[in-house]
Symmetry: C2
Subunit: 189 residues, 2 copies
């Protein structure tokens, strides 16, 4: 698939068919992810491929718990209607786990290093584009409590579960979500 | 260009030719960036396209100041040899500025929202891939003090300069940097 076509036509998918994702497709997605740039080429990512139904249910329950908590904190009642069932429905969830020690020179900055998270995000964007090119839908999901997700996924203390990506065949058409014109977001100097 | 080809053959560029980058190419890069996913489609990015020589020199001096400081903090003497001159040589630097208020539901999490930075990173990855497809080299640069860079770029208090991307025609071949096999970074559950 043409790069620009992939970039413009990729959409978030919140409803997945039950069809399993072939393991060679998963490997292609992870290979694409691993070609992302990273600070000092530290490649600060690790991937956990989750297909176990009980584990997906634990993830769903954690997200649902966070949603309830966020509604209380925010008063955003519309969150009650925000679907989370895709966490159970998606045949595969790929957790992207980052290593804060592999963050490059920004580790010495006062606010702490964020380079490893940016690199993981670049890897995820590669993964989303690759999935689209293979005819797969994805959802990039970050709404969970990191220490809880660490426990659920048996991630060691020093590593950070940065994001989850739901992967599977989309069930139905994906809605096209517009973007603001980049020109309106650009200044020159 | 094919998506997978773009993902696998993109390289970081640290030496730029002086040739200016056509404005329509810049617009294509920013359009690609703006198609990235973001939390609740908040599109938390803004772009500053910098071609002014004096401004690029200010950016260089800030990075050089941070390098000296990092050498003192870290003892990483190899940083003395790390080139920064690409900040002056690159015909264009694109600053990607994020809005921490557009970070989605993770704003209620204890450690603060990071979703806007992940979205900016996804936008940057789109930009790097698009540049490669257009025959342009890029360098993703994050080593600067955010409050100082805010001043240099006249960014308002509430916004965060997330990264700079140097853009231009590569001067010479780009070295191929290997990756660890994704399989070695993957577990299944």
């Amino acid at each position: 698939m043409d790069l620009f076509e992939a970039i413009k036509n990729r959409r978030s998918c919140r409803s997945f068919a039950a069809d399993p994702v072939p393991s060679d497709a998963i490997e292609q997605l992870l290979e694409a992810a691993a070609w992302a740039p990273s600070p000092l080429n530290t490649q600060p990512w690790q991937f956990i491929v989750i297909t176990d139904e009980a584990k997906k249910n634990e993830i769903f329950l954690e997200a649902d718990r966070c949603r309830k908590w966020a509604i209380e904190e925010s008063g955003w009642t519309w969150l009650k209607g925000y679907p989370l069932v895709f966490l159970k429905e998606a045949p595969v969830i790929i957790a992207v786990v980052g290593d804060p020690k592999k963050t490059g020179v920004d580790m010495f900055q006062e606010e702490g290093g964020v380079g490893y998270q940016l690199a993981c995000a670049a890897a995820i964007q590669n993964l989303l584009l690759a999935a689209h090119a293979l005819g797969l839908g994805t959802l990039w999901f970050t709404f969970f409590d990191k220490p809880h997700m660490r426990e659920i996924l048996n991630v060691p203390e020093g590593k950070t579960p940065v994001s989850l990506v739901c992967v599977g065949k989309a069930s139905g058409e994906l809605p096209s979500v517009p973007r603001k014109d980049a020109k309106a977001k650009t200044t020159y100097m």
